[in-house]
Symmetry: C2
Subunit: 262 residues, 2 copies
C-alpha cells in the first residue's frame, strides 16, 4: 500500500513530541526520522491543529528541541481562519491562547460579528466563555469559527480538554453549528496537499488522532497511519467508524515501513 507515495503529511504533537508546560519531550526516534524522509526524496509537510502559539513560536520550540522544521513547512488553522475572515468581512471576537493573538494582527476586531475559538487553554475561564457566549447570542445570525474540533490531547502532566469540547459548549448554548477550520476539515487537508503539490492518492498522513488525523485524511482520499504514541489509546483500534491503513508503534517505524516499500 505504500507504493506510489510522493508525500507525507505529519501531525506534530503526539508524533514528533509530547507537548507539556515546559515545551515538551521528543518522542524516541522521531528526531532521526525527519532527515530520513528528506533524504528519500519524499515531500514532507506538517499538518497541525496547534493553536496555542503562532507558527513562528511553534516552529522555534521544535527547532529548540532539535527538529529540522521551518515555518514554511507548516499548515495550521489560524492562517486558514484569517483567509476566511477576510473573504467574508468577518470581525472576530477571539477566544484563543494569548500566544496565538499575533496571527490575527491584521484582522479588524472592532465591533465583532463572529467568534473565533481556538485551544485557549488557561484562557478557557468561566468569564471568557460567558463573554464569547454573549457576543454570539447578541448577533442576529451567530457565526462561530473553531480552530479544530479535537476532543482532548495529552501533555506531559496529563490529558487536557481540547478546543472541540468548548466549541460544543458554545454550539449547544447558542444553538449554532461551528464552522471548523483545521483537521478533520477536508479543505484544510486539501490546502496542505496543494502546498506540497501532491494529490491525495499519493500522500500518506501520519498521526496519533484516530478521528481528526486518520479519519479526516482518509475522507480526502489519502491513506493514513496511526502511531501508538501521543494521545493514542488501545481502544482506538476498536473505533466503530475509522480504520487506519496501518498501525505503527511510532514515527520511526512508520518511516521504516514506508521507505522499505518505495
Amino acid at each position: 500500500w505504500a507504493r506510489a507515495v510522493r508525500g507525507l503529511l505529519l501531525d506534530v504533537s503526539g508524533v514528533l513530541y509530547d507537548s507539556g508546560g515546559d515545551g515538551g519531550v521528543p518522542i524516541a526516534g522521531s528526531m532521526l526520522a525527519l532527515p530520513r524522509i528528506k533524504a528519500s526524496g519524499l515531500k514532507l509537510r506538517f499538518c497541525t491543529n496547534e493553536t496555542q502559539a503562532t507558527r513562528e513560536k511553534f516552529v522555534k520550540k521544535l527547532q529548540g528541541m532539535g527538529f529540522d522544521i521551518s515555518v514554511a513547512d507548516v499548515t495550521a488553522p489560524a492562517p486558514a481562519a484569517c483567509r476566511i475572515l477576510k473573504e467574508r468581512s468577518l470581525r472576530p471576537h477571539l477566544l484563543v491562547h494569548n500566544d496565538l493573538v499575533p496571527e490575527f494582527a491584521e484582522i479588524d476586531k472592532t465591533n465583532p460579528n463572529c467568534v473565533v475559538i481556538g485551544d485557549a487553554a488557561e484562557n478557557f475561564t468561566y468569564a471568557n466563555l460567558n463573554e464569547a457566549f454573549r457576543v454570539l447570542t447578541g448577533l442576529e445570525k451567530p457565526v462561530l469559527i473553531s480552530l479544530g474540533r479535537g476532543r482532548y490531547y495529552k501533555e506531559t502532566d496529563g490529558l487536557k480538554l481540547d478546543v472541540g469540547a468548548y466549541m460544543k459548549a458554545l454550539e449547544y448554548a447558542c444553538d449554532v453549528q461551528a464552522e471548523v477550520v483545521g483537521k478533520p476539515a477536508k479543505m484544510f487537508f486539501e490546502s496542505a496537499l496543494a502546498e506540497m503539490g501532491v494529490p491525495p492518492q499519493e500522500a500518506i498522513m501520519i498521526g496519533d488522532d484516530i478521528v481528526n488525523d486518520v479519519g479526516g485524511a482518509q475522507r480526502c482520499g489519502m491513506r493514513a497511519l496511526q502511531v501508538r504514541t501521543g494521545k493514542y489509546r488501545p481502544c482506538d483500534e476498536n473505533h466503530p467508524h475509522v480504520k487506519p491503513d496501518a498501525y505503527v508503534n511510532n514515527l520511526a517505524e512508520a518511516v521504516d515501513v514506508i521507505l522499505q516499500q518505495l
Copy 2:
C-alpha cells in the same frame, strides 16, 4: 384551559426574581402573587434547577427578599441526584458550586466512579474541567450525571452559560451521554407532582425557559405558561418544537389569568 386546575409548579429564577451576584432582585408583582395562590386553595410547589446553593441557603435568600417559601416546598436536582447515587452505589467526583457541596455530605466520595456536574459557576475553571474529564475517561464505563441541561440563564450582570453547556463539553470529550437530573427530565417533574399530590392533567407549570420548563412539563402531560421575564427572549415565540399553552407578561399576570378561570 385553566379549568380543573389543582396545583401550580413554579420555576423560581426568572419567575420570582432575577438572580445576580448579590442575591438578586424580585420581579415586579411576583411577591404578591404567592399569597394570592395560597389563598385560592391551589397547591403550590417550586420546581427549580438551582444548583448554586443548598435548598436551605436558596430558600433563605428568597425569604430575605420577602418571599413566603420554605425548604419543604422546593423540588431541586441535588437531593434527586443523591437518591440515584445511593441506589446505584455511585461515588461521585463533584464539579459543582461550593455552596452545593453540603447536599452531598452523606455520600461517599472516595475513589470516584462517576462525575456529577452542576452549575459550578466560578468553579468552571480550565483545571476543574480537565480534572472531571480525567476522572471520566479513566473509568471503564464513564457515568456522567448532570444537574439540569439548561443552556444559559440571566443574572443581573448579564447572561451566563448554564450547566448544560459544560455537560455537552464533557459528553463530547468522553463520548458519553449524560444522565440528566432536573428539568426537563420527566422523572423530575413527576416527583414534584407526587410531592404536591396532583396529577399532571390538573397542574400548570409556570416558567421562563421554553425548553426546560414549558417543553419538559408538557411532555409530562401538564399545561405550561411561559412568562416574558427572566431568560425569555422574543424569538422563543417562534420555537420550532415547543408552544406554551399561553404567554403571560409575568407571574402576576399568570395568576390573574388562572384565578379568573377557576
